[in-house]
């Protein structure tokens, strides 16, 4: 029974160290060294108004904007309060129907040929801020038509927004949809 005392006291001490001091210390260092990232990588316009976080994708369905990946979050797509994927199994008939519907929506905007998987399959977080460069280029004709601008100009903006592999070997090339759509507006 003499082991009860260390069991309780060690727990209390480590709660203070690991549960209080540790996160506070990390928060302090994070705010001192990387205040922008620690706060959520928010972007603002020239007047200082917050436009959103570069890390949290927003929903777009208007033809004049580039569309993000499908999102399976509840209530509405890219709902940041309900992160998560569809968890649809690969042979689930209703999932295959959902994918067909998404393909049809894209075909209705004049898309021909093969469609990149990321544009019709839902992301893991439901908040994926990126699409592949192929998926962005696929949407250029539609956005150009809706905005009445040249495709060349949009291709250029997509190219400028494309991020390569990190440190040249990590991950996949990608385009941030929110950043891209804000770049279009200006």
């Amino acid at each position: 029974m003499k082991d009860i005392k260390p069991a309780i006291l060690l727990f209390i001490i480590f709660t203070i160290i690991c549960g209080g001091i540790y996160p506070a210390l990390v928060t302090g260092v994070a705010y001192f060294l990387f205040p922008k990232q620690a706060a959520g990588s928010f972007i603002t316009d020239k007047s200082g108004k917050v436009l959103g976080s570069t890390l949290i994708g927003q929903p777009f369905s208007d033809p004049k904007y580039f569309w993000p990946r499908p999102s399976a979050t509840s209530d509405f797509t890219n709902n940041a309060m309900a992160s998560g994927g569809s968890n649809a199994g690969p042979t689930n008939p209703s999932y295959i129907r959902t994918v067909s519907d998404r393909i049809k929506t894209l075909r209705d905007t004049g898309v021909t040929g093969k469609i990149p998987a990321d544009l019709v399959q839902a992301s893991a977080s439901g908040l994926d801020p990126h699409i592949t460069p192929e998926s962005a280029l696929l949407q250029v004709p539609r956005v150009a038509k809706a905005r009445g601008v040249s495709e060349e100009m949009l291709i250029k903006i997509v190219a400028q927004t494309t991020e390569g592999r990190q440190l040249r070997f990590l991950g996949a090339p990608r385009v941030n949809v929110l950043v891209l759509n804000h770049a279009l507006g200006s």
Binding site: P6, L10, I17, V29, Q37, D118, A124, S125, F169, L170
Partner: protein, 592 residues
């Protein structure tokens, strides 16, 4: 594309293997009570802690007292977290005013975090306050990992000791694991993650405008919360315009670092490590995989050093690497091949359902294999949406007991139990008395090793069987047919092996899964842990037998291959029927 996938994989494992040696030496010094480069700062703190708690660091414990201390400490962990979750609404640091947990959910969550499982049937951003996350869940992340490390160190001491009853002091092992290993490396990990974009703050959730507003139809409910229906029996809905969206905040980086380092895996957010605030870039993904594997891989070297033959440690590490290459290759191939049901709709590329663009296929596959080869269970990919054979990989890794690097501590002790079985079987085949690391393997060791290896497997099969004849458990399946079976099998595999990842479509927040799952987690954690300690006690009392011509060398390639085969054979014999009916049949249906 393929070249980059390979490059990323090779660089990751090169770094891991380079780190194994210094980290292994460092941990050996920690457990031998010797000075490390952190001693000048931490030694006074450590002494102070012992003084306050009345711990005599010289006091040696027999296995029963060691096990009792572990159980007692874990009971305190459980009680504290259970109460904290039940009164969450009264505690500070709760800017979103989230309510308390139901008792069933609190019970499941407290057991889940105490057992290093981190199975979650709540959604972090909606249900947990900052106080719960940091002072409750994160503390358990540290201490449950430290418990696992203490148990494996006790087992190693059992091999090393000669004719003694002592296997160490639980309080000292636990304290030193936390203070010298988990805490400093978590601080480094967290500070490396923040510049990538992992958030770290205590702010209120933030509301931002949408560039393009959206809307959805919400079912109307009456004042009792019952959905209204019109005269035709159709649900009545109302149009809800959305012009702004709320973005959750929180001290995520500090949580993320220990969640990976301690192979815990409980996400701050529902989407876990696929959430851009938990894992924002390919580099953060790389760092997180490295954090998951760092301690389990390095412990093999600590083991080799402590038993006085580093080749024993490298042998175990090689066996783990062989299994890893096999799993990673299968997963990468299955996902790259894509889903034919989708491809035939004129869709190009690998299976992207439940994956994030930024990680690339290798980033997703590596994380999936790392998180299920260990007992981590964090996910950056939704395992439920993997192709059938792709999903078979994480499921098999969990079912074979998470020995591909393994959970911190628990992975190595499970691997050593497999090694003892392998020694015993080969001893039978060549007619020699089985010995491992200079200790004779006898009845006690065999019983305990079998308990370590089979407890989780038997629990999985029996509990999944019960689920399949329970209507409410079957109704929780979100996918029809054979995939639903896999969801249930995965749920119990994950809980009984203390992994915590899920085929997350399954609605597990019902009494059946919360309560039976709690039992699975307890059995899967404490039966093997206590069996390991009993084995440590038995080994410590034995005399050392120097290797002779009749001894099977366990530090050579043939034994490593044999060990891998034993793991695969035991896994296949136990789970083949269930796996064939689940992922096997689904694969045939998909390509059919």
């Amino acid at each position: 594309m393929i070249m980059y996938d390979w490059l990323q994989t090779i660089i990751l494992f090169a770094i891991l293997i380079i780190l194994t040696k210094p980290m292994g030496i460092f941990m050996m010094n920690v457990y031998r009570g010797e000075c490390t480069f952190l001693s000048p700062i931490l030694c006074p703190l450590e002494s102070l802690i012992y003084r306050i708690c009345g711990v005599d660091r010289q006091e040696a414990m027999g296995w029963k007292r060691y096990a009792w201390s572990m159980v007692l400490f874990n009971l305190v962990l459980f009680a504290a977290l259970f109460v904290m979750l039940m009164v969450q609404h009264l505690l500070p640091f709760n800017p979103q005013k989230v309510p308390s947990f139901t008792w069933q959910l609190a019970l499941n969550t407290a057991i889940s975090f105490m057992t290093n499982t981190n199975w979650q049937t709540y959604s972090g951003e909606q249900a947990a306050s900052y106080f719960t996350q940091t002072a409750g869940l994160a503390v358990h992340n540290f201490l449950s990992a430290a418990t696992g490390m203490a148990v494996v160190v006790a087992l190693i001491r059992g091999f090393v000791s000669r004719k003694t009853a002592s296997i160490g002091n639980f309080w000292v092992d636990m304290t030193r694991s936390t203070l010298y290993i988990l805490l400093p490396f978590s601080i480094i990990g967290a500070i490396l993650l923040v510049p990538q974009g992992v958030i770290q703050n205590y702010s209120d959730y933030k509301t931002v405008p949408l560039l393009q507003s959206t809307s959805y139809d919400r079912p109307k409910v009456d004042h009792k919360g019952i959905p209204l229906k019109d005269t035709a029996g159709k649900p009545v809905t109302e149009h809800v315009p959305i012009q702004e969206v709320t973005i959750p905040m929180g001290p995520v980086a500090s949580q993320e670092a220990i969640k990976e380092l301690g192979t815990n895996g409980g996400g701050f957010f529902n989407a876990n490590s696929s959430h851009p605030f938990e894992n924002p870039t390919p580099l953060s993904n790389f760092l997180e995989i490295l954090l998951i594997l760092l301690i389990p891989a390095s412990l093999t070297h600590t083991f080799g050093l402590m038993v006085g033959n580093t080749r024993q440690g490298w042998g175990v590490l090689t066996a783990m690497l062989l299994l890893l290459v096999l799993s990673l290759g299968s997963l990468q191939w299955a996902e790259k091949s894509g889903n034919p049901l989708v491809s035939r709709l004129a869709v190009s590329g690998s299976n992207m359902e439940g994956k994030e663009v930024r990680f690339g296929l290798a980033g997703s596959s590596l994380f999936t294999v790392a998180t299920t080869g260990t007992s981590c269970g964090a996910v950056n990919t939704m395992h439920d949406s993997l192709t059938p054979l792709g999903g078979l990989v994480p499921l098999s890794l969990i079912l074979t007991g998470e020995v591909v690097f393994g959970g911190v501590g628990s992975g190595l002790y499970t691997m050593l139990a497999f090694a003892i079985i392998a020694v015993f079987i080969s001893g039978l085949m060549i007619g020699r008395i089985p010995e491992y690391l200079g200790k004779k393997i006898e009845v006690t060791e065999m019983w305990m090793s079998i308990l370590v290896i089979l407890t989780a497997g038997i629990t999985v099969l029996i509990f999944s069987g019960i689920a399949l004849v329970t209507p409410s458990a079957v109704a929780s399946m979100s996918n029809p047919g054979t995939h639903g079976l896999t969801q249930v099998l995965y749920a119990f595999a994950s809980m009984a092996n203390n992994n915590g990842s899920a085929f997350a479509g399954l609605n597990a927040n019902i009494n059946f899964y919360n309560l039976l799952g709690s039992l699975a987690m307890l059995l899967g954690r404490y039966v093997p842990a206590i069996a390991v300690l009993a084995m440590a006690g038995s080994l410590a009392e034995k005399k050392y037998i120097p290797p002779s011509l009749g001894t099977l060398p366990t530090d050579r390639a043939p034994f490593v291959i044999w060990l891998v085969l034993v793991i695969l054979i035991i896994g296949a014999l136990t789970f083949f029927p269930a796996l064939a009916l689940g992922p096997g049949v689904e694969h045939l249906m998909m390509i059919g």
